[in-house]
Symmetry: C2
């Protein structure tokens, strides 16, 4: 006897049918001498009824406990009107059980599967195979599988070839720390795990594959801030003989198709804004455009006041002085404002000036703020005019270096906007373009804002003349304040690549050692090419509304990069280390 249907798939159309089901006991109740078992499989739950008439079954059903694995045969019947459960997909029917086999018993679960919110993540990760039985986790991973399939078919149908690149490779210059693999056959040498398939995908373009994609595992040995994983998954796309517009159109169509198909959401046209505009208007290179709030420059208004906290930065070309108007913010309590002051200090802001707009018609008397006396009445009113402030608003101020003000007020914009629920829409995608090629490395030199293979939008001569002013042909796709993906047109000419290395102060020998094979490849006829990579984990997290990427990864690691279920990483026999030509340092063996 084999399964004829999934539990969760039964509907009124099945009434009268004899079915065989497999699943887990979600709940067993004894009610008026009848046993009710909620039988669960990946498609959902159906109620199975065993009454004493089916004597053998009844005894067995009575012995079932939570998470027992059953095979049930029975007849689908309508529930009585009083017992129809509108909250269940199968709530109109139940199965009258006539045969029952217990395929496996189960010990009492380590935590209640229907009550996960109160369960610590540590227990969930330790018993991940139980945690994954929960509906929320099942749904997340099913969506992930379905979205992955959509992506693959979209790219396949667009002529992209799925080509695998190595996991055991050479260190790549992505900026983060590499995970290493000691080689047994080459004593003293190590493979590095890829932080991305960057160089391989460029080489595939040099090899003439024209259009490549891969859903690739990538690895970064970082200190796991916030929501990072040591291994993560990237949708990696590269094409030849294309420009920015081609890649952006293709990937925008792909993401739009995913949202339409799986969430029934129309993302519409993606606006495109320059990096410079994004920083000025939103204080971020991945602005959350669901929030209608913008930063407004007021440097010119504050140059001549006595109050040095503002006039100092207002007269310093490296600084910015900016106001953020928040509608409805006048209701914020002193305590809340103090909390925001603490919040912006994380980003280096030394304080958080504010003005509440209670009654603008009353002039400065209708405003409430500790700083009006320092600004002066006229300047204060000029600021209100520029901001088009209205009663009920609060205005926050930032005056410091460009980066501190941008980061602090950019983050504050998102935080206050979320706290006051100022979202004007559910989904706000956009492109950020025209990034600088380089940023200061803090040691008097320059470092690439993306990676050293990104093409500038200027000529070799222009780059040489003023590298700090050069813009790159990079583009990021941002959704709801999260960077979904980023990419660029790459350098395909050896002279340009050499010049970029020159700007980065990477000498000929280092070029040769680190990127010799890429430089060789560019020499033998590299086509113009570019691409883009999306973070799959983040995309699915956004789509499911999960709190963490850990919730959309089947077997994730903790923040200290451990797997609580398998207890990895683990100790290794000395003999194995000897074969690999390594030994532990004393400090490690002592722990």
């Amino acid at each position: 006897m084999k399964r004829t249907s999934y539990c969760g798939a039964l509907t009124a159309a099945d009434i009268g049918q004899t079915v065989t089901l497999n699943g887990w006991v979600d709940r067993r109740r004894d009610h008026g001498g009848v046993i009710f078992i909620d039988l669960r499989d990946r498609e959902g739950i159906v109620q199975v009824v065993f009454d004493p008439d089916a004597e053998h079954c009844f005894q067995l059903a009575d012995s079932c406990r939570s998470e027992y694995v059953l095979q049930v045969t029975g007849t689908v019947r309508a529930r009585s009107e009083a017992t129809v459960n509108a909250n269940m997909n199968t709530g109109a029917v139940e199965v009258y059980g006539t045969e029952l086999e217990i395929l496996n018993s189960a010990a009492t679960p380590p935590f209640q599967l229907d009550d996960h919110v109160q369960v610590g993540e540590e227990v969930r990760l330790r018993y991940r195979y139980m945690d994954l039985r929960r509906e929320e986790m099942q749904k997340g991973l099913r969506l992930r599988s379905a979205v992955t399939s959509t992506i693959r078919n979209f790219l396949h149908d667009s002529g992209f070839l799925d080509i695998e690149t190595p996991i055991m490779t050479r260190a790549t210059p992505e900026g983060a720390r590499d995970y290493l693999i000691p080689s047994r056959t080459h004593p003293g040498k190590f493979f590095a795990m890829p932080q991305s398939p960057q160089l391989f995908k460029q080489l595939l373009m040099v090899a003439g594959f024209d259009r490549y994609y891969q859903i690739a595992k990538c690895f970064r040995d970082e200190d796991l801030r916030a929501d990072r994983q040591p291994e993560f998954t990237q949708i990696d796309i590269e094409a030849s003989f294309i420009d920015e517009a081609d890649i952006m159109a293709l990937t925008q169509a792909m993401i739009s198709a995913i949202f339409k198909q799986h969430l029934d959401v129309e993302l519409g046209e993606f606006p495109s804004i320059t990096w410079r505009d994004a920083m000025h208007r939103y204080g971020s290179d991945k602005p959350d455009l669901r929030l209608p709030l913008e930063l407004v420059e007021i440097k010119d208004l504050l140059k001549d006041i006595d109050f040095k906290v503002f006039s100092g930065p207002a007269n310093d070309p490296a600084c910015r002085v900016t106001a953020l108007k928040v509608p409805g913010g006048a209701q914020l309590s002193r305590k809340q404002i103090d909390d925001y002051t603490k919040f912006v200090s994380i980003y280096g802001a030394k304080g958080l000036a504010w003005i509440k707009v209670n009654e603008l018609a009353a002039g400065v008397d209708g405003l409430q703020s500790p700083i009006i006396k320092f600004l002066g009445d006229q300047v204060t009113l000029d600021i209100m005019a520029r901001l088009q402030a209205q009663d009920g608003d609060i205005v926050f101020f930032g005056a410091d270096s460009f980066s501190v003000v941008s980061e602090a007020l950019g983050a504050l914009r998102c935080k206050v906007g979320a706290d006051l629920n100022l979202y004007s829409c559910d989904w706000a995608p956009l492109w950020v373009v025209d990034f600088p090629m380089f940023e200061a490395d803090g040691k008097g030199g320059l470092t690439p804002l993306h990676h050293p293979f990104t093409a500038p939008s200027c000529s070799v001569e222009e780059l040489k003349a003023d590298p700090a002013a050069a813009l790159s042909r990079a583009y990021d796709m941002v959704l709801n304040g999260v960077e979904l993906g980023g990419g660029s047109i790459r350098i395909h000419q050896p002279t340009m690549q050499a010049e970029v290395f020159e700007v980065l102060n990477i000498g000929a020998q280092e070029q040769r050692e680190k990127f010799g094979f890429l430089l060789d490849a560019l020499k033998y006829g590299a086509p113009p090419h570019g691409g883009l990579a999306f973070g799959l984990d983040r995309l699915i997290m956004l789509m499911t509304g999960a709190d963490s990427i850990r919730d959309v990864i089947a077997f994730p690691k903790t923040q200290s990069a451990a797997c609580l279920m398998t207890d990895a990483p683990g100790a290794v026999a000395n003999e194995q280390l000897r074969e690999l030509n390594i030994r532990l340092r004393q400090s490690a063996t002592e722990q």
Copy 2:
């Protein structure tokens, strides 16, 4: 101006169209004052003609060299009848070039791309991005991409969820050496890279996902015999509430669909033979059924002769005495037979007796052999009768332990069959089933023939009573003598798993340490489940007819597990090793 068509896609239907092409100069010829450029992209080659009328283009075209990257605009026109090239897809047309841009120049290639056969594999691997430009390599990787897509859609449409499992995990007991990754955050501890996702896929079944698949990277640090790679790709499939027949039907349908869609081959029904039969009839657990040759037991005929070489094994229950009849083999020279004798010695055979059948009607006088005098005339003729020998055959003999005879004559069967081209068909798929659960480990104990999670076909009591006799619920899919894939129904009950560990002499503590999380998982309600894994590299190698899996992997490693292109593995700074809490052994640093 953007590309309007691939070079290789132009046909007579395009005549009169203005097209823009991108591609590489495959060949440039100057013929009667006209420049002919064969322009190549991933779809093929088209001839572009530049004549002196288009003056600017002509000069530029004249300057092009092999592997230059071009953008060409021109008009498609019919070739004159005399110049039509039937060997090219585009051979009926050519493009009359009116605009030309050199997108990139190219140094002289390190080897001729159209002449690869004479190029050593080392050069090909070092300049892999050039090697991959060759039509054969392009075709292989395109087929790989297309087959992968077919597999994914087949499994997706069959309700399988694509779920990723970790690359950084704990050592798994697959028998080979693990690659290790030192942990920085857990000093002295190591991740292991998976030899297969075996335990994770079982846990996904425990978690209730019901049907899982993954095209997964797997890793084995083996001494690379023959055609192995340190990282390889597995099509990994697992399902719950199914039996052998379900998995075999599903995967047979999948492989059949692939062969039909991509090679237009009907594989037909796959015969199923037991492991025991396969060993007896073909001397192999992955027999090549394209060859109609079978081994025939003759033990009973040789028990009473004086010749100890045969009568010894014939009277030893641990030995087998077997004959292999090869039609047409009477033509083999003494030299060839000597070579086969050397060949079987690799497998431990101490010699290779043979009889040529020249004219059977003449009795033993019509036979030619050094051993007839030892066998005696009657025994010789009895053997000929049992084998139904015919004029022109040769008969080889094996008499030794079961394993030596099976391996030696099994290998000889394939070698002679290939040398004499005795294949009766192009494709011969089959299933091998009813494997033994265990084999002797050579130290008086037992070791699993597959892995310790394979379910036996008997009860716990029967297993306990006679473990050596137990058969497993494992199955291998074999095609043309190559094991394409293998799998089994897994143990889902803790008592059975404990008994198998008992048989393998794995104590409670070792069970806990190595497989604690699996044993826990089985306790909490594991469903009956099983699966199968295919080697993708081998599948594509078979389908393309490539000599090596290296030819169907974009960036493979050498037999010493190195990448000649990136020069991986590489040296690592001491600082990095210190962060990872390891140091090199003296022996490694000295090299």
